[in-house]
């Protein structure tokens, strides 16, 4: 399965198992989603459980809060993560805090799916990585898969979870892994080990990172599309790096991170989102606090720049192999 099929399969499995799961969003019903992630679900489960919505993101999330309070498990889709801002208040002030402010009387057990990230020439409004805005807010979980297998297992866990969860889907790798070489032909998930996705139910607990590659020389913390770009860069450099795919930012698997950096003594953080106040800053602080006496070189960050996402200069902006290689060389020099 590719990642879209895996995500579709997760929703299918959960709708089959739990009648309280409902899927909603712009174009998700009849058409099956602009990326086809919800294809076939309406035909199978009916319009009461899979339906198109008006184009109002604050409405979609606000309605999902109410549905969650009723006892359903909504899985709303925000068509592109760039369009999550109109819903920011409903996510941050409402969904994320409902349990707390009602001391557990009401909960908003929703999973907001949203394609995010760049590398598709989407320009400013189809490329952003807003995860850092939400990891900053208490009460909402943030999950980002990097393979079809993980996408399905994590999405199932997110839907089963009683807390509101943002499930950001790296759209650049929906159809195949991306190694950062934009001028070479796209790859496919076919034949990839992590594309062997069971059709039935399985879950991957939220808050457990994955060691994408074990190594001794350097720890690279990354997630989403960047896992693949980093993997390929490491391969071409022939360096024995340990690549940690975080999989979820909140909750964060701090134990795996700490153990890895203490083992390697070096750390590189890579994400697509802008640098200032990005999630990388939090990772850096955590590693610094926990592993300072084990570090043999300063921690480095490779991130998107603090500009809006450019269109024609996308590949200069994208934290690709060139910048990752530079950072690795710098860390290894010391």
């Amino acid at each position: 399965m590719n990642m879209i099929q895996a995500i579709n399969s997760a929703m299918d499995v959960m709708m089959e198992r739990d009648p309280s799961v409902v899927v909603m969003g712009e174009d998700v019903g009849f058409f099956g989603g602009v990326f086809r992630a919800t294809a076939g679900l309406q035909q199978k489960y009916g319009k009461n459980r899979v339906f198109d919505t008006p184009i109002t993101e604050c409405g979609i999330i606000g309605v999902a809060v109410g549905m969650g309070a009723y006892g359903l498990r909504p899985v709303p889709e925000i068509q592109f993560a760039d369009y999550i801002y109109p819903a920011l208040d409903q996510l941050v002030s409402e969904a994320a805090r409902l349990r707390y402010r009602s001391a557990g009387e009401f909960i908003a057990p929703m999973t907001v799916r949203s394609p995010f990230g760049g590398g598709i020439f989407g320009g400013q409004t189809h490329s952003q990585s807003p995860e850092g805005i939400f990891t900053h807010c208490s009460g909402i979980k943030t999950v980002i898969p990097s393979t079809p297998y993980d996408a399905k297992g994590l999405l199932i866990a997110a839907i089963e979870d009683n807390d509101p969860t943002l499930f950001f889907e790296p759209k650049r790798i929906y159809n195949g892994p991306f190694d950062g070489h934009y001028d070479t032909p796209a790859k496919s998930w076919a034949g990839h080990a992590d594309a062997q996705v069971p059709t039935g139910y399985y879950r991957i607990a939220l808050g457990k990172a994955r060691i994408a590659r074990a190594g001794e020389a350097l720890t690279i913390l990354c997630y989403g599309t960047m896992v693949h770009v980093v993997e390929d860069t490491v391969k071409t450099l022939g360096i024995d790096a340990e690549i940690v795919d975080l999989r979820s930012l909140v909750p964060l698997d701090i134990d795996t991170i700490e153990a890895s950096v203490k083992k390697t003594g070096r750390c590189l953080i890579v994400h697509e989102a802008t640098r200032t106040s990005g999630f990388g800053a939090e990772l850096l602080a955590q590693v610094q606090e926990r592993c300072f006496y084990h570090l043999e070189a300063p921690i480095e960050r490779v991130t998107g720049f603090d500009t809006p996402y450019p269109h024609s200069l996308e590949w200069a902006y994208f934290p690709g192999p060139v910048r990752i290689r530079e950072a690795i060389n710098k860390i290894m020099k010391d």
């Binding site: 409902v22 009461n48 459980r49 339906f51 919505t53 008006p54 109002t56 604050c58 409405g59 999330i61 606000g62 309605v63 999902a64 809060v65 109410g66 549905m67 969650g68 309070a69 009723y70 006892g71 359903l72 909504p74 109109p86 208040d89 409903q90 002030s93 409402e94 409902l98 349990r99 707390y100 402010r101 009602s102 001391a103 557990g104 009387e105 009401f106 909960i107 208490s138 009460g139 979980k141 979870d161 009683n162 807390d163 808050g207 909140v250 909750p251 964060l252 701090i254």
Partner: protein, 431 residues
């Protein structure tokens, strides 16, 4: 360097020989020191509004969004097509709950002034809005209120001491001292957790109603916001969703004329009514005399019956007046005419129902005075009971570590760590 857009634009305009444009900034009819004037309000006769069938098409009842559904006339008689013809017991219950709400407000306002809590919001003059609706809805219908519908909890016989515990943020506060006073949550009372962010409850109520419909349930939802809050995007998102899915929901706009210091003109009242917002969405819209509890009751029953029969949503504007300040932090004499509240042409909801009951011969002034006294004592006793659990800032609160609970279903490591750190710091400080 010259500003190419600015100067070029001005030159171009000057040459066009057109009158200058004017910006209209609304002004309320009266400011402090000026005399209030409500003569521009068109108040139709109590029996003027027709009562359409609950199944009527919204397009067939547009006039109701611009008129005023009323029942109690100037002679305190119940008249017209909307008269719900309630039995005496129900009328007296309504009277009692409205008076209880007022007594509760009075006591808690005083408690705030005495420094027992930080904040309070009264609903003086608007009691009919919440009590009328609460009695017209079924006990298990779900309410998504804003901060001025405490009457719903009282009418659902929710323990007053529990509400006061919340106001005092004490050890008995079911919300563990996390919310601003008056932001109640009472799931068992069908009362959704109140948000401080205006109008967010609107799409949430619609979502709840949609879920109920999708599940083949029989319960409906109702929500309330102020007229000022109708300007929020959430209001319009909610109307769109409610209209599109014909959600079994009642959307109440409490037009009490003022949003803190901004009069209703800043939410669009000079151009049309708030009930008329429904017209554009193809929703049934009713404009109701919000100080006439029989009208509020009748309109809510109509809307509830319509929703239960899958007739879809209704938007009800309750035309009323906020007699007191916006909250304990507000001083309305700074922005509106002092006499305005006494001149409000639709009177006081309690006085009107009381007079109706007296006219019917089921009530009298003595019984009313005795009831007021009894209610004040009830409220006082509840306050004493609540104060045993502590008042704000006097050390009786939920344990400090509870601050970290309920962020997530299970506490993640980083919160556990911060929790422990806080406890250690307090211990080290000898506290």
């Amino acid at each position: 360097m010259t500003d190419p857009i600015g100067s070029g634009g001005m030159d171009g305009q000057a040459g066009r020989n057109l009158p200058p444009l004017r910006l209209h900034v609304p002004e309320p009819p009266a400011r402090p020191g000026e005399s209030a004037d409500f003569t521009h309000f068109d108040i139709p006769a109590a029996d003027a509004a027709p009562r359409p069938d609950e199944a009527a098409q919204p397009s067939d009842m547009r006039d109701l969004a611009y008129g005023l559904v009323r029942v109690l006339d100037e002679d305190s008689a119940a008249v017209g097509a909307w008269n719900p013809k309630l039995p005496p017991e129900t009328l007296l219950r309504m009277l009692r709950y409205m008076a209880l709400t007022r007594a509760f407000d009075a006591r808690m306002f005083r408690a705030q002034r005495q420094g027992k809590t930080s904040f309070y919001m009264k609903s003086t003059g608007e009691e009919a809005v919440s009590i009328g609706a609460a009695l017209a809805l079924a006990r298990d219908d779900m309410c998504f209120p804003s901060y001025r519908q405490q009457g719903i909890l009282l009418a659902r016989d929710w323990p007053m001491a529990d509400m006061m515990n919340q106001i005092y943020s004490n050890t008995g506060d079911r919300l563990k001292g996390r919310q601003l006073p008056i932001m109640y949550s009472a799931r068992e009372a069908g009362f959704f957790s109140i948000s401080g962010n205006l109008t967010t409850q609107y799409p949430q109520a619609v979502g709840w109603a949609m879920a109920s419909a999708a599940r083949g349930d029989t319960r409906i939802a109702a929500t309330w916001c102020g007229e000022g809050s109708t300007a929020e995007g959430d209001f319009h998102s909610a109307c769109t969703f409610a209209s599109v899915y014909r959600a079994p929901v009642i959307m109440n706009v409490v037009n009490n004329q003022w949003a803190i210091s901004s009069f209703s003109g800043f939410a669009g009242a000079e151009a049309t009514t708030f009930a008329a917002r429904a017209v554009g969405y193809g929703i049934a819209g009713l404009r109701v005399d919000g100080n006439d509890i029989l009208a509020v009751y009748a309109a809510t029953r109509w809307a509830a019956d319509r929703a239960r029969a899958n007739g879809g949503p209704t938007l009800i504007e309750h035309f009323t007046y906020r007699v007191e300040g916006h909250s304990t932090s507000d001083d309305p004499s700074a922005y509106r005419s002092a006499e305005e509240s006494s001149l409000w042409p639709l009177g006081d909801p309690i006085a009107r129902l009381k007079q109706h009951c007296i006219t019917l011969g089921i009530w009298d002034e003595d019984r009313h005075a005795a009831m007021d006294k009894e209610l004040a004592e009830l409220v006082r006793d509840a306050a004493r009971e609540a104060e045993k659990n502590g008042i704000l800032g006097h050390g009786l609160h939920h344990p400090m570590e509870s601050m970290f609970e309920d962020v997530f279903e299970e506490m993640p490591w980083h919160l556990k760590e911060q929790q422990q750190q806080m406890l250690d710091e307090w211990k080290a400080a000898g506290l």
